[in-house]
């Protein structure tokens, strides 16, 4: 780091040109080489722009349809989901709206149904590919954390729901739709081998498992998949939080009778 040189932000994603009267305002912005306000604004869908931001290239129609389907499937996990409950807990107390989303992100980041689970599942994909034997082995002997990390170790096979009974209908519907529109080989393999994998895991496939397979088909890196999964699940958290804020804490469960303090 030199003191004499102007420090810069290095980016291969974003380029700007200044307004002639203000060097602190952009006159044009380019993302991956595309003029954002001169071209994308008129011509690109939101989902395609999202893909472009991560990948710096325009998606194929199949990639676009796959990401679109995934975004719809994940947009609202519903008010019983941990991350949405976190957002609603902000809402009922009259907390700031940003805090509701922070709450949803913090809770939805975890190993159980959250973005960290997607990361782990992506790592399984990277390690096992489409070898059923490799999946069986890795589920049986999962990787151990080598050095203390801030994350807790996984307590179940990633991509599967340890509290599930059978694969829920929406998970199967999502898997079928994403195969239909995306033509992805990982999703297809997951569908073909779902029951065997569920047997290895001892529990049913979860949304996180479908999302990881879809993002593997889209060739996202695990860390990109983690970010995208967090982003895509926020709309539901936002609207449920706003709804509970409007309704107030009196209409929201406090579990008054469910809390038992051991003597």
């Amino acid at each position: 780091m030199s003191n004499n040189q102007t420090e810069q932000i290095t980016t291969e994603i974003w380029r700007e040109t200044p307004e002639s009267d203000n060097p602190f305002a952009a006159a044009s912005c380019f993302c991956g080489g595309y003029d954002v306000y001169g071209d994308l604004l008129k011509n690109a869908s939101y989902i395609d722009y999202l893909y472009l931001l991560f990948k710096q290239q325009q998606p194929t129609p199949e990639q676009s349809a796959l990401l679109e389907g995934l975004a719809v499937a994940l947009a609202n996990p519903g008010p019983r989901d941990h991350s949405v409950r976190a957002a609603m807990s902000a809402g009922v107390g009259g907390s700031t709206h940003a805090s509701a989303l922070i709450a949803a992100l913090s809770v939805g980041a975890g190993n159980l149904g959250g973005s960290r689970e997607v990361v782990h599942t992506m790592e399984y994909w990277q390690q096992c590919g489409t070898s059923l034997e490799a999946w069986q082995q890795l589920i049986k002997e999962p990787p151990q954390l080598g050095r203390e990390d801030v994350w807790l170790p996984m307590e179940h096979a990633p991509g599967f729901d340890p509290n599930g009974v059978s694969c829920p209908t929406p998970v199967k519907q999502t898997l079928a739709h994403l195969i239909d529109v995306g033509k992805g080989s990982h999703l297809q393999w997951l569908n073909d081998n779902r029951t065997a994998l569920e047997e290895f895991a001892g529990c049913p496939l979860a949304f996180s498992g479908v999302a990881a397979a879809a993002l593997q088909d889209l060739e996202f890196l695990p860390e990109q998949a983690e970010m995208l999964f967090l982003l895509l699940r926020l709309p539901g958290a936002a609207v449920h939080s706003l709804e509970q804020e409007r309704l107030g804490w009196r209409k929201y469960p406090f579990f008054a009778n469910g809390f038992k303090l051991n003597p």
Partner: protein, 268 residues
């Protein structure tokens, strides 16, 4: 078909020994009445008991010294503090600034990962020493596997100015002579003489001091989570009190674009 979920027995049924509040107005923490048994605790003693179950004014005082000396530099260039300064300049709220700064403090090159990692390393190293390995073997193996040793080396500068004042404070309250802090400095001595040249940083010092007080890596991690807020808050306040948007503004020329220059056109 009658199938029952594993979750059924937990419906409206959360059992805990950690504590809680009753409608009658009693508050309990780890079996202690907060109003009767913990009411004279300092906040740090309360946090220590809440996080670890330990009641120790000595550890609380040591921890408090660490928070003051080591974790709360009010410099808005430091990345976690910078988030609070940005929140201030963008006219967000203090709590949102603090929440973001705390979350960002769970970093790799500073903050919570080195804190937890250094404690873990010292415990592992001590165990391997007890099993007959020598220090050089242990440190070399760590470097070979992870390419770094938590608690040693530092971004921007090599020496850590916090080490001496922290050790002075620790000694002033009767700490700093245990086997783990000695081990932390023994590792530093080895690294300084090796080709790696890493110097000890404050994470290893705090880890050694707290390991000697029998705090686990998780204990230290839980305690340290809020430790950085006293550095972040002044950065938020300062930026809030200055002209809005004036915290290190960037002109467009400050973007060093490394992608392709060709302008592409979206296929519709």
């Amino acid at each position: 078909m009658s199938v029952h979920s594993k979750l059924e027995k937990f419906e409206d049924n959360w059992r805990t020994s950690m504590g809680g509040w009753s409608l009658e107005g009693k508050v309990v923490l780890r079996g202690n009445d907060v109003f009767k048994e913990l009411n004279n605790s300092s906040w740090m003693e309360y946090l220590l008991f809440a996080s670890t179950g330990k009641k120790s004014p000595q550890i609380a005082r040591l921890m408090e010294g660490m928070w003051v000396i080591c974790t709360s530099f009010p410099d808005p260039r430091i990345w976690n503090n910078r988030v609070s300064a940005l929140a201030g300049t963008a006219r967000s709220t203090g709590a949102l600034a603090a929440a973001a700064s705390v979350a960002v403090t769970e970093a790799t090159i500073y903050g919570l990962k080195p804190i937890k990692g250094a404690t873990d390393f010292l415990y592992r190293a001590d165990k391997r020493l007890a099993e007959g390995e020598d220090l050089e073997q242990i440190v070399r193996a760590e470097l070979k596997q992870y390419r770094s040793v938590y608690g040693y080396g530092r971004p921007l500068v090599t020496a850590d100015e916090r080490v001496e004042p922290m050790m002075n404070f620790a000694r002033s309250i009767g700490c700093g002579e245990g086997k783990y802090i000695k081990l932390a400095f023994a590792v530093a001595e080895y690294l300084a003489a090796s080709r790696f040249k890493y110097q000890i940083n404050i994470a290893a010092v705090c880890a050694g001091l707290l390991a000697d007080e029998e705090l686990s890596p998780m204990d230290f991690y839980h305690m340290a989570t809020l430790a950085f807020t006293a550095g972040a808050m002044p950065c938020f306040i300062d930026a809030s009190n200055q002209q809005e948007g004036c915290f290190f503004p960037l002109r467009t020329a400050r973007l060093n674009y490394t992608g392709g220059e060709a302008v592409k056109h979206w296929r519709v």
